[in-house]
């Protein structure tokens, strides 16, 4: 079962200079959420002005990340998220990152240093995050094809680590 995740990780890391994720984030697994509760739905605008409704992603695996520009562990994991997303997208896995409490200008400036091609959604008043079991940033959820919360990670992760990729790819099969 581990081979596809390892192969995928090798593929992502084969380009020189891409394996820069901090050692500190390696070896940190995703936590399996028991009972897979339904993911609270939301509708949010992204930094490009597009509207995203979570329930419209039903049928696909979604990585949902809550973050802020000032949060150091968020910054630590974002480069590996960006690199991993390019490959994950081809396998039908979506990535949405909900910024908490900041505006487009701050995020625009931030993404000059931390490019992110996946949608960056805006929870300006922090209302959506209250509907989710989030106590600190970053917190990331993996939502299965049926719209249920399958995994959770509190704190940053290396999204190219086979330990993280394996359950994602298994869910997307």
């Amino acid at each position: 079962m581990r081979a596809p995740a390892l192969l995928f990780a090798c593929f992502v890391c084969i380009v020189p200079g891409l394996c820069l994720a901090g050692d500190d984030l390696r070896g940190r697994p995703l936590y399996e959420v028991k009972g897979r509760p339904p993911a609270p739905d939301f509708t949010l605008e992204d930094t490009e002005g597009e509207i995203h409704r979570l329930s419209e992603y039903r049928g696909r695996v979604v990585i949902l990340n809550f973050w802020a520009t000032w949060c150091p562990p968020c910054r630590d994991e974002m480069p590996s998220m960006q690199r991993a997303w390019k490959g994950l997208r081809e396998r039908g896995i979506e990535m949405l990152a909900i910024n908490v409490g900041e505006d487009e200008d701050i995020i625009f400036t931030f993404t000059a240093d931390y490019p992110a091609d996946y949608p960056l959604l805006l929870d300006r008043e922090g209302t959506i995050i209250k509907e989710w079991p989030v106590l600190g940033l970053p917190t990331t959820f993996v939502i299965d094809r049926e719209g249920r919360i399958a995994y959770r990670a509190v704190g940053g992760r290396d999204w190219e680590d086979p330990l993280v990729l394996e359950p994602l790819l298994k869910l997307a099969k």
Binding site: R28, A68, W70, C71, E102, E125, V154, G155
Partner: protein, 204 residues
């Protein structure tokens, strides 16, 4: 190390074993070479906890950039703020729960609870601080309570509300797989204000 512990226990009895156990649980503290800031670190009982000084100016600048008024930024800048990093370093099998409302500070012989988000928020409301900077503040502080599964960690500020340079003890508790553990950082020191590090005009 395992051999020597076992050897000591067998030959010198429980008194030595207790002493060794106490030494093993001693927190580490020091000063960062690059910043000059002091830190206190605990790596026992299934957690890794780091408490590290933040300069008042660092904190003022951070919150000014998030919409704080200069009056409010001065309040939090003078609020003895630390970076706090709490981790569950286990690869598997260990669940950590903590609740900051159970932590205590001991200052000038008095033992009292930590200042938490709600108390700070009351101050910001009294100062008519609008919602966006208050949201930023709430999320910038270490969560009041949390469960950390293997590999989980969290980072945030802790604001104790003491004046710059104040010394205090921090007693912290956590549950490891439901079993209560305790630790203490002694003589923790709020960072001095930069002003106190710069010679005033005419002082030399």
């Amino acid at each position: 190390m395992r051999f020597s512990l076992s050897f000591l226990t067998r030959t010198c009895g429980p008194v030595v074993a207790l002493a060794v156990s106490t030494v093993a649980a001693a927190p580490e503290s020091g000063t960062r070479e690059d910043t000059g800031l002091k830190y206190w670190q605990w790596n026992e009982g299934g957690i890794s906890l780091l408490v590290e000084q933040r300069l008042p100016d660092q904190t003022r600048a951070f919150f000014l950039a998030r919409g704080f008024t200069s009056e409010a930024a001065n309040v939090i800048g003078d609020g003895c703020v630390f970076k706090t990093d709490l981790r569950n370093p286990a690869a598997a099998g260990s669940v950590i729960d903590y609740d900051l409302s159970q932590w205590r500070v001991v200052v000038d012989g008095q033992r009292k609870p930590m200042m938490l988000k709600d108390q700070w928020d009351d101050r910001w409301k009294a100062m008519n601080l609008p919602s966006p900077p208050r949201i930023a503040f709430r999320w910038a502080l270490l969560p009041n309570r949390q469960r950390l599964d293997p590999g989980d960690y969290n980072w945030g500020m802790s604001a104790f509300g003491f004046p710059a340079g104040q010394r205090f003890d921090l007693e912290f508790t956590w549950l490891r797989n439901g079993e209560e553990r305790t630790g203490i950082f002694q003589n923790v020191e709020c960072a001095p204000d930069v002003e106190s590090l710069v010679p005033r005009e005419g002082a030399l």
